[in-house]
């Protein structure tokens, strides 16, 4: 009984850490402009729209976070093997991984922005100075929480994979969940804030991103402030649910019926999410209504 309570406690803690990680990851990627919407940041100067948005999407979020979290976990693992206290080892490992992220952000911004020189896009040194450290701070939160979560899974729940391998797996999953959930909000709602609400961005408007703020020119810190209101927390909920439910069904139900208990619970959870998703889809169709009158050919 005690082991089950302990397992549920660790599961809850891991889920909470994953929620913070997801929120920090999405906010970091929006401030650094690393997700798919960055295609518009790269495109804008080519269409004649010079801007002050950060630009570091050399790699997608999943491989980038796979690298940083595997690095943080690997260094922490090495420190732990040297008999250093796990908390200190994780902090040191994540700190070093964050510096790698800072190097990545700096070289990516300089390289990508310099490639736009022929379109008249300047490299803003003040942007480099003010934004890089903010992305590093958010990256540290995301890396630290994910590495700590992996350490709990390995040391307290007894997963067979070593810490660096868990870091790689959950780093890629974190980037995948964060970019899937957070990217549309950053791309459509923030970069194209001037477009109509409740409709996709017309393809003809590509590149015409919002470049001015309430006072002066908009920068990536403004974007982080905005997406931290919904895109970030939603990404956190997404990654937190993934980690929590995966661990919960394993810790509680794997001993039932030689492993089949966890499978049945997993199937039930998939069906529950499918029903909720369908409900939301139908609700949106009824509430927002069609954009045009239905075509007879289409409905027949």
């Amino acid at each position: 009984m005690e082991s089950i309570v302990f397992g549920i406690g660790i599961t809850a803690l891991a889920g909470a850490l994953a929620t913070v990680a997801g929120a920090a990851e999405d906010t970091e990627s929006n401030i650094g402009s690393q997700g798919d919407p960055n295609s518009q940041v790269q495109l804008a100067p080519q269409m004649g729209y010079i801007h002050r948005i950060f630009n570091k999407a050399v790699a997608g979020e999943p491989p980038a976070y796979g690298l940083w979290i595997a690095l943080g976990a690997g260094i922490a693992w090495a420190f732990m093997a040297m008999q250093i206290n796990p908390i200190l080892a994780i902090v040191l490992g994540c700190g070093l991984a964050t510096f790698i992220q800072g190097v990545y952000a700096t070289t990516a911004y300089l390289g990508r922005t310099a490639s736009l020189a022929k379109f008249g896009q300047p490299v803003y040194v003040d942007i480099l100075k003010s934004v890089t450290t903010v992305t590093m701070a958010h990256a540290f939160v995301a890396i630290f929480t994910t590495v700590t979560m992996c350490h709990l899974i390995n040391a307290a729940l007894g997963h067979p994979f070593p810490l660096p391998l868990l870091g790689l797996i959950w780093g890629i999953a974190l980037g995948a969940a964060g970019s899937a959930t957070g990217n549309p909000f950053y791309g459509k709602e923030r970069q194209y804030q001037s477009q109509k609400f409740g409709a996709g961005v017309p393809i003809a408007a590509s590149g015409n991103i919002v470049r001015y703020a309430e006072a002066g020119e908009r920068n990536s810190l403004d974007n982080g402030w905005y997406t931290a209101k919904l895109g970030g927390p939603a990404s956190g909920v997404c990654f937190g649910l993934i980690v929590f439910l995966e661990l919960w069904r394993t810790v509680l139900f794997e001993p039932v019926a030689a492993g089949w208990g966890a499978i049945v619970v997993g199937i039930i959870m998939i069906l529950v999410f499918a029903v909720i998703d369908r409900y939301i889809e139908v609700w949106a169709r009824k509430t927002y209504g069609p954009y045009t009158t239905p075509e007879k050919e289409a409905s027949s």
């Binding site: 997963h159 459509k188 609400f197 998703d277």
Partner: protein, 277 residues
């Protein structure tokens, strides 16, 4: 012409010569494994090939819209094909590896369900953001009616876009893709783990329990590597974005099955001969 309006350069058909060359390479590799390794190693290689095919096939189900989806210009999830599939499949591998002691069938199914659950949650959150964050209903750009629910799609596409969000068929496709990916990754892991558990104690002259962490680490690393190889191959086959099983691009999967089988065989023989010779 916009990127999403462009016609894909690659056709949907299967090139007979390439397919034959691929099958011959596959037979040669299996023959080489039979000559060089034990029967356990041969069975492991066949398992790795089946796992690779499951991953490659599964990636075709995953609805990925890339950059246009991030602007609500095209349906799907706003990230890369290979990376999203890897995220789901590796989450499945995590669960499958945990259940490895329960036997092959339970572990592979657990891995599949883990991948499916990851995609179920992710696809649900994508629609949540579209509906409640952006006020946009889901609409497919490739079909007039959702093949599962029968909902009509064209009138829910906003002006100047190819569609947006995840219609239910795409949601189901994402979950199926996650299940195949998770199951395939776990199968590769368990097959390689069996070979390493058998060969490594003799190689190092140590007890089985002493080399178990090395065997698990090696099998896990190779499973992730082979997973990424197959996911990227499938992404090349898809060329850009795909809406799910109802997308015309889905019909390209036979090409990928041959490519995945050959690539997994090449990776698998390296991973196995590392210890089996």
């Amino acid at each position: 012409m916009s990127a999403i309006g462009a016609k894909p350069a690659g056709g949907a058909g299967l090139d007979t010569t390439s397919a034959l060359v691929g099958i011959i390479i596959l037979i040669v590799i299996l023959g080489a494994m039979y000559m060089l390794g034990s029967s356990v190693a041969l069975m492991a290689l066949i398992g790795v090939i089946i796992g690779g095919i499951l991953i490659g096939f599964g990636v075709h189900f995953v609805p990925v819209g890339g950059a246009p989806a991030a602007m609500g210009q095209a349906p799907g999830i706003a990230t890369g094909v290979a990376m999203l599939a890897a995220g789901a499949g590796l989450a499945g591998l995590f669960g499958g590896a945990w259940a490895a002691e329960q036997g092959l069938a339970v572990a592979v199914i657990t891995g599949g369900i883990g991948g499916g659950l990851m995609m179920a949650i992710t696809c649900f959150m994508v629609n949540f953001i579209y509906v409640f964050g952006m006020g946009i209903p889901a609409a497919s750009g490739k079909v007039l009616k959702d093949p599962i629910t029968g909902d009509s799609q064209p009138e829910f596409k906003s002006q100047g876009t190819e569609g947006h969000g995840l219609p239910f068929i795409s949601y189901v496709g994402g979950v199926i893709g996650g299940i195949f990916g998770g199951a395939g990754g776990t199968l590769i892991y368990i097959m390689l783990l069996d070979v390493y558990k058998e060969s490594l104690p003799e190689m190092f002259g140590a007890q089985a329990a002493q080399v178990l962490p090395i065997a698990i680490t090696l099998a896990g690393l190779f499973a992730i590597g082979i997973f990424l190889v197959n996911a990227v191959l499938a992404a090349y086959n898809i060329t850009g974005t795909i809406e799910g099983p109802h997308d015309p691009k889905f019909k390209r999967f036979p090409r990928d099955i041959i490519a995945s089988a050959v690539a997994s065989a090449v990776c698998g023989i390296v991973a196995i001969l590392l210890v089996a010779m």
